[in-house]
C-alpha cells in the first residue's frame, strides 16, 4: 500500500528548502549526543570516519505539538561514518504507527510518499527532516502531544542497529501537508 502526501501549497516547499540548515551545527545540549553514542555501538557495521564524532547524530530535533491524531518529527540526521546507513523503520513513544516519509516528484508536483524501503544516509552527509520535506510521520495519536513535552524517537537500521533520541514538542503553524492515501481518503495532517 502506498500513501501519498500532497503539499497544499508549493510555496511552503520552497520556503522550507530555502531554510535548510543541515550545515549548522547545534549547540543544543539535546539528547542527540548521548543518543548518538548509543547508536554508534548499535549500528554495528559502521565505523566513525573521524574520531570523536558519533556515528549517527541528530541536531535540532523537534516534533510538532498537536491535539490531532497525526504529527511530524524533524531534525537533521548525520552519518559520520564512511559507509551508507540504511534506515528502515521508525518508532516513537507516542504511537505505534510511525512512518518514514519522503518527498518525490510525481506527475509534475511534489508529493509526500511513504518510503517503504526506508532511506539511506550517505557517508559523511546530513539528511534533513523538515516541514515541507522529508519527515517522520506519527499517526493514530491517542493523546495530544503538548508543547514542551518530550517525545522519544528511534530509528531502526537495516543491520539491526538503532538510534534513539528525544525531540521536544513545539508549537508550529506549518507542516500542514494534506495527507492523501492512495485509497483516496484525505485528512489534514497536523
Amino acid at each position: 500500500m502506498k500513501r501519498t502526501l500532497t503539499l497544499t501549497a508549493a510555496l511552503a516547499l520552497g520556503a522550507a528548502l530555502a531554510g535548510c540548515t543541515s550545515t549548522v551545527p547545534s549547540e543544543q545540549p539535546s539528547a542527540a549526543a548521548s543518543a548518538a553514542s548509543t547508536a554508534a555501538s548499535d549500528a554495528g557495521s559502521s565505523a566513525a570516519s573521524e574520531p570523536g564524532l558519533a556515528e549517527v547524530a541528530i541536531t535540532d530535533p523537534w516534533v510538532k505539538a498537536t491535539d490531532t491524531e497525526m504529527t511530524g518529527a524533524f531534525g537533521t540526521l548525520e552519518n559520520n561514518t564512511d559507509v551508507p546507513i540504511h534506515v528502515v523503520a521508525v518508532s516513537s513513544s507516542v504511537t505505534d504507527r510511525n512512518e518514514l516519509h519522503e518527498m518525490v516528484m510525481q506527475d509534475g508536483s511534489m508529493v509526500m510518499v511513504e518510503m517503504e524501503e526506508g532511506f539511506v544516509i550517505e557517508p559523511g552527509t546530513a539528511f534533513v527532516l523538515e516541514p515541507g520535506g522529508n519527515h517522520l510521520m506519527l499517526m493514530d495519536l491517542a493523546a495530544p502531544v503538548e508543547v514542551g513535552e518530550d517525545v522519544e524517537l528511534t530509528l531502526e537500521f537495516e543491520d539491526g542497529g538503532t538510534f534513539t533520541w528525544i525531540a521536544p514538542a513545539r508549537t508550529f503553524a506549518g507542516a500542514n501537508e494534506e495527507y492523501v492515501e492512495s485509497e483516496a481518503s484525505a485528512t489534514p495532517t497536523p
Binding site: 520556503a15 531554510g19 540548515t21 549548522v24 549547540e27 543544543q28 545540549p29 535540532d60 523537534w62 505539538a65 503538548e146 508543547v147 514542551g148 513535552e149 521536544p168 513545539r170 508549537t171 508550529f172 503553524a173 506549518g174
Partner: protein, 437 residues
C-alpha cells in the same frame, strides 16, 4: 557621591547632582568609554576611541570585521557592518539589564493560558531559553520559519521576567516574592488595562529593528499554546552610531534623561544578593515598567525658560540652573535676585533627588511614538527600571514624585507592571529553573 535622579516620568533627569570629577573634567567620549567598559564587561584593551561597546563581541574581544558573520552572504567585509555583534546571553545575570542600551525595544507582556500549571510554565521557560540561546547568537530558532531574519543579531538581548500571575495562576503562589505585586496606586496615574500587568514579560532589545521584530515574534509564536500577548510596546532610542556613544539619552521633550541613574556600574543596587532570596532570584533583579504618556502638544505651549524651570536644568547641556555642567550638583539653597529659590521647590531635579545613594536605580528607558498619530501626539516613554530592592529603592521616590513634581503636568502614567527577573543561566540551565526544583 552621586545623587540619584529618580523619576517616574520621562525624567528630565538628567544628570543629577552627581559631582563625579571624572565626569566633569572630561569630554563625553572618554566618559562613555568608561561606562561601556563596565556595561559590557569587556576588557579595557578592547576599547578604543569611538568603538566602545559597538566594537566588542560577545566574548569581549574586539570585533574582527569580516569574520564573525553567521550569514556568509552578509557584507561582512564592509567596515560599517555591525550586525554580527552579539551580547552574551549566558552568565550570572540575564542580558538586557546592564547591557548598554540598544537602539530598539519590543517589550511584550503575556497572560498565561488557564491550563498552564507549574509544569507547563517550566516547559515554556525551557523553550524560551532555547530560543534566546539561538537568536542571541545569530542562529535561527528551532522552528524558525524565517531563519534568515535571525542571521544578524546586532546585539540582540532577551530578558525574561515573571509577573505576580506566573505564581498565582500556576500553583506557585507560595513561592511568589512578597514584593512581587502591582505598584500601589498613585494620584498621577491614569492606568489602562491595555498597558498594565502581565504574567510574563519578554524584553527584546537590539540595534536592528528587523531583527528585534523577528525575535519578539518568534518567541511569541513558540509560546502561543501557553500564553497570549497582553500588551506589546515598541520603543526606540538613538540608532547605533548616530550619536556619540557617551551622549546621554534625550527623551522626546528634548531633555537629557537619566544620566545620573545607575548605568550598570554599581551592581549591588541592581542585583539581588540577599542570601534569603530564593535561588532563582539571586543574581536577578526587580523590574518596573511604566508607560508614561508625554503631552508634547501641551509641552509645545511652553517656552524654553519655562521648560527649564520645570526640570531645574538647562535643556541644552543639562546643567542645573544654578550653574556648572550636566554632572554638577545643583545648589538647592541658591536664590535668585528676587529672593526666590533658583531651582523651584517643585522642580523635577529637586523632587527626584534622594540623599540615600542606596536608593539609586538603573533606568533603561525607551521613547515610544504610537502610530499613526503625530499631532496630536501619542508619544511618551517606556520607563523601565531595574533595582535590587523594589520597596527600598523604587517605591519611596516614586511616591514623592507622584506627590509633587512640576513635570507631572505634562506626563501621565498610562501603564504599569512589575516583574521578577530570574538570575542568568549557565550552560544547560533554563531560566528560573530553581523555581521548579
Amino acid at each position: 557621591m552621586d545623587q540619584p535622579t529618580r523619576s517616574a516620568g520621562p525624567a528630565p533627569a538628567g544628570p543629577a547632582p552627581a559631582a563625579e570629577p571624572r565626569r566633569t573634567d572630561q569630554p563625553p567620549i572618554p566618559r562613555g568609554v568608561r561606562r561601556r567598559d563596565v556595561l559590557v564587561g569587556g576588557g579595557g584593551a578592547a576599547l578604543g576611541a569611538l568603538a566602545t561597546w559597538a566594537g566588542l563581541r560577545a566574548d569581549g574581544t574586539p570585533t574582527d570585521e569580516g569574520a564573525a558573520s553567521s550569514d556568509t552572504s552578509a557584507p561582512a567585509t564592509a567596515a560599517d557592518y555591525r550586525g554580527n555583534l552579539t551580547e552574551p546571553w549566558q552568565g550570572e545575570h540575564q542580558a538586557g539589564i546592564v547591557t548598554a542600551p540598544q537602539g530598539f525595544l519590543t517589550l511584550t507582556a503575556y497572560d498565561l493560558a488557564d491550563h498552564v500549571d507549574a509544569l507547563r510554565l517550566e516547559r515554556l521557560l525551557r523553550i524560551w531559553t532555547d530560543g534566546i540561546s539561538r537568536l542571541a547568537a545569530g542562529r535561527p530558532g528551532l522552528t524558525d520559519t524565517e531563519p534568515e531574519l535571525a542571521a544578524h543579531p546586532a546585539r540582540l538581548t532577551v530578558t525574561v521576567g515573571l509577573g505576580p500571575g506566573a505564581f498565582e495562576r500556576t500553583g506557585l503562589e507560595a513561592r511568589r516574592p512578597a514584593w512581587l505585586a502591582q505598584l500601589p496606586p498613585y494620584s498621577i496615574d491614569a492606568l489602562e488595562d491595555a498597558w498594565s500587568g502581565g504574567d510574563l514579560a519578554v524584553q527584546v532589545c537590539g540595534e536592528d529593528p528587523s531583527t528585534v521584530a523577528h525575535a519578539a515574534r518568534y518567541l511569541a509564536k513558540e509560546a502561543a499554546d501557553l500564553a497570549t500577548v497582553r500588551w506589546a510596546q515598541h520603543g526606540f532610542r538613538n540608532a547605533a552610531g548616530q550619536v556619540p556613544e557617551a551622549m546621554t539619552f534625550r527623551n522626546q521633550f528634548g531633555q537629557l534623561d537619566g544620566s545620573s541613574n545607575l548605568q550598570g556600574e554599581e551592581g549591588e543596587h541592581v542585583w539581588i544578593t540577599d542570601p534569603d532570596a530564593p535561588a532563582w532570584l539571586r543574581g536577578g533583579t526587580t523590574m518596573v515598567v511604566r508607560r508614561i504618556h508625554m503631552n508634547l502638544d501641551k509641552w509645545d505651549e511652553l517656552d524654553r525658560p519655562g521648560r527649564e524651570v520645570i526640570v531645574g536644568r538647562r535643556l541644552g547641556d543639562g546643567a542645573p540652573l544654578t550653574g556648572g555642567d550636566e554632572f554638577t550638583a545643583p545648589d538647592l539653597e541658591a536664590v535668585n535676585e528676587l529672593g526666590f529659590p533658583a531651582i523651584d521647590a517643585a522642580a523635577h531635579i529637586r523632587r527626584a533627588r534622594t540623599d540615600d545613594p542606596t536608593q539609586r536605580i538603573l533606568r533603561r528607558p525607551y521613547s515610544y511614538e504610537a502610530a499613526p498619530s503625530v499631532i496630536p501626539s501619542d508619544t511618551g516613554q517606556i520607563f523601565i527600571a531595574f533595582q535590587a530592592d523594589l520597596e527600598h529603592q523604587f517605591l519611596p521616590v516614586q511616591a514623592r514624585l507622584a506627590e509633587l513634581d512640576l513635570l507631572n503636568q505634562w506626563t501621565t502614567p498610562i501603564g504599569s507592571a512589575v516583574f521578577a527577573v530570574p538570575r542568568g543561566v549557565r550552560e544547560g540551565e533554563f531560566l528560573a529553573q530553581d523555581l521548579f526544583a
